[in-house]
C-alpha cells in the first residue's frame, strides 16, 4: 500500500460511530475493500484510519420475510446475495446484476451496499435495486433514516450520506418481486469489465420498469411503462431518461444507441 493507516474493527454500532467520529474525514469505511483498496493503491484516497465494518454485529444479516421483503446488511457480499435461494426465486434481476459484476473471486469480497455507496455511474447492483424500489437505511449516532434508492445518488461518486453516517442495510420490498427481469451490459470484452452501458428491465403485472447504468452521472430509473406499449415507445422512454457522456470507453451516441437496442432485446427475453 502507498499510504500507512490504522486498522479498526469495531464489534458494535456504538463502537463503529465512535471510531467514525474520532477518525473524522480521514477515516474510511472498509467493507469488501474492492473499491477502497484500489483507490488507496492509486493514491486517490489517503485515509489515516480504515474502519472494517465486517465484524460489527448485525451488519452481516441477509434476511427475508413475507411482509417486508428482503433486507441486505452492509457486510453481505455480492455472491452471498446471488447464491441465496429466496433471492434467486423472488428477485431474479438482483441475481442477474450480481452475476455481471466483476469476477467470481471479487464478488466473494465486494458487498452489495459498498457497490451502492461507492456510487459509480456504472454500479451494477444499482439498476436492479432501482427497479425493485429499494430503500436505503442510513444510520448515524443520532438515529436512522430511510431514503429511496432513486434519491440516494446525487452525482458521480456522490450520495446523500453525510459525515458520520453509514448505510446499515438495503430493504427490497415485495412490490415488484417475482417479476421477470434481465440485465444487459455492454463491455469491451466478454469477460469481466466495467460497463459501457447497462440496462435492466423488470416486467410484472402489466408494468415494465427499466433502469440504466453508465449513461448518466448516476444510475437512473426510467419512468414506469406499460407492458402494452410498443418496443419503440419503451426504447424512447429509456433514451429520454439517460444523459450519457463521451469518454474513453465509448461515445455518447453509441451509448444512446445501445440503450435502445438493449431495451428491445430485453423485452424479448423477459
Amino acid at each position: 500500500m502507498l499510504c500507512e493507516f490504522d486498522y479498526l474493527a469495531p464489534r458494535t454500532m456504538p463502537e463503529l460511530f465512535d471510531a467514525l467520529a474520532a477518525g473524522g474525514p480521514d477515516a474510511r469505511i472498509l467493507a469488501g475493500g474492492t473499491d477502497l483498496l484500489v483507490n488507496v493503491r492509486a493514491g486517490l484516497v489517503t485515509p489515516k484510519c480504515v474502519i472494517d465494518i465486517k465484524k460489527v454485529s448485525g451488519l452481516d444479516g441477509l434476511s427475508f420475510d413475507a411482509k417486508n421483503g428482503l433486507a441486505i446488511g452492509a457486510a453481505v457480499t455480492v455472491n452471498q446475495l446471488a447464491e441465496e435461494p429466496v433471492v434467486r426465486e423472488k428477485y431474479g434481476l438482483l441475481v442477474a446484476c450480481a452475476e455481471s459484476l466483476a469476477s467470481y473471486q471479487l464478488r466473494n469480497r465486494a458487498t452489495v451496499v459498498g457497490n451502492i455507496v461507492n456510487a459509480s455511474p456504472c454500479a451494477d447492483m444499482a439498476p436492479a435495486l432501482l427497479c425493485y424500489d429499494a430503500q436505503v437505511v442510513i444510520a448515524s449516532r443520532q438515529g436512522s433514516r430511510t431514503v429511496p434508492i432513486r434519491e440516494f445518488f446525487t452525482g458521480v461518486k456522490k450520495t446523500v450520506l453525510a459525515q458520520g453516517e453509514i448505510v446499515e442495510k438495503i430493504l427490497v420490498p415485495l412490490t415488484h418481486a417475482g417479476g421477470s427481469g434481465a440485465y444487459e451490459k455492454l463491455k469491451r470484452i466478454k469477460g469481466h469489465d466495467l460497463g459501457i452501458v447497462g440496462v435492466a428491465l423488470l416486467k410484472k403485472d402489466g408494468l415494465v420498469r427499466m433502469a440504466v447504468s453508465s449513461a448518466a452521472p448516476t444510475p437512473i430509473l426510467v419512468r414506469d411503462c406499460k407492458a402494452g406499449e410498443s418496443a419503440d415507445t419503451l426504447a424512447q422512454a429509456a433514451l429520454q431518461a439517460v444523459k450519457p457522456i463521451d469518454d474513453v470507453r465509448s461515445s455518447k451516441e453509441y451509448r444512446e444507441f445501445m440503450v435502445q437496442v438493449y431495451v428491445k432485446r430485453l423485452l424479448e427475453r423477459v
Partner: protein, 163 residues
C-alpha cells in the same frame, strides 16, 4: 500489529503494518512466494488464494482482515512432494506457458471444483473469468479441467474429445 494465520494447515504468527495487504504479507512475512502480484487491483487474479473456503484476490484483502483466517495457496496443492491431480493435468495439457497466472488459476479451479464437481465449459470459463493468462493459453487450461473431471475421451484417431 500481530496477525495469526493458518496457511496450508500451518499456523504463522507475524507482526505486520495494518496497511499491508494479504498478498504482500504471504510473500514477505510468511515467505510463501507462490502467490503472484500482477495488477494489484483485483483485475488479473494472479494473487487468487482461498480464504475461509472462498476464493479471493489477496491484493484486496488487508492482512489484519485475514487475522484468524484459514488460507490455502498454491503451495498447498502438492501433498508429500506429489503434485495434485489438477497440477498433473496442467502439465499434461501444456496449460502452463510462462506460469505467472498458474498459481491463481489453480486456486480458482480448486474453488470451482469444490462448488461444482463436474463443471461445464461455460462454468469453467466463468470461474476463471477473473484470472488473466497473458500467454492466452485458456483452451489448454479448460481442457485440463475437463480431463481432471473425467470429461475428456480419446476418439479413434487418439485425439482428445469432450464427452
Amino acid at each position: 500489529m500481530k496477525i495469526t494465520l493458518t496457511v496450508n494447515d500451518q499456523v504463522y504468527i507475524r507482526d505486520a503494518a495494518p496497511s499491508k495487504n494479504l498478498l504482500h504479507f504471504l510473500r514477505e512475512d510468511v515467505g510463501l512466494t507462490g502467490t503472484k502480484e500482477g495488477c494489484g487491483a483485483g483485475e488479473c487474479g494472479a494473487c487468487t488464494v482461498i480464504m475461509n473456503g472462498k476464493s479471493v484476490n489477496a491484493c484486496l484483502v488487508l492482512a489484519p482482515e485475514a487475522d484468524g483466517a484459514v488460507i490455502r495457496t498454491v503451495e498447498g496443492e502438492a501433498l508429500n512432494g506429489e503434485l495434485s491431480p489438477v497440477q498433473h493435468k496442467f502439465m499434461e495439457h501444456h496449460a502452463v506457458q510462462c506460469g505467472f497466472c498458474t498459481p491463481g488459476m489453480l486456486m480458482s479451479i480448486r474453488d470451482l471444483l469444490g462448488r461444482v464437481p463436474k463443471p461445464s465449459v461455460h462454468q469453467i470459463k466463468e470461474a476463471i473469468e477473473g484470472n488473466f493468462c497473458r500467454c492466452t493459453g485458456y483452451q489448454q487450461i479448460i481442457e485440463a479441467v475437463l480431463d481432471v473431471t473425467g470429461q475428456l475421451t480419446k476418439d479413434n484417431k487418439g485425439e482428445l474429445r469432450h464427452v
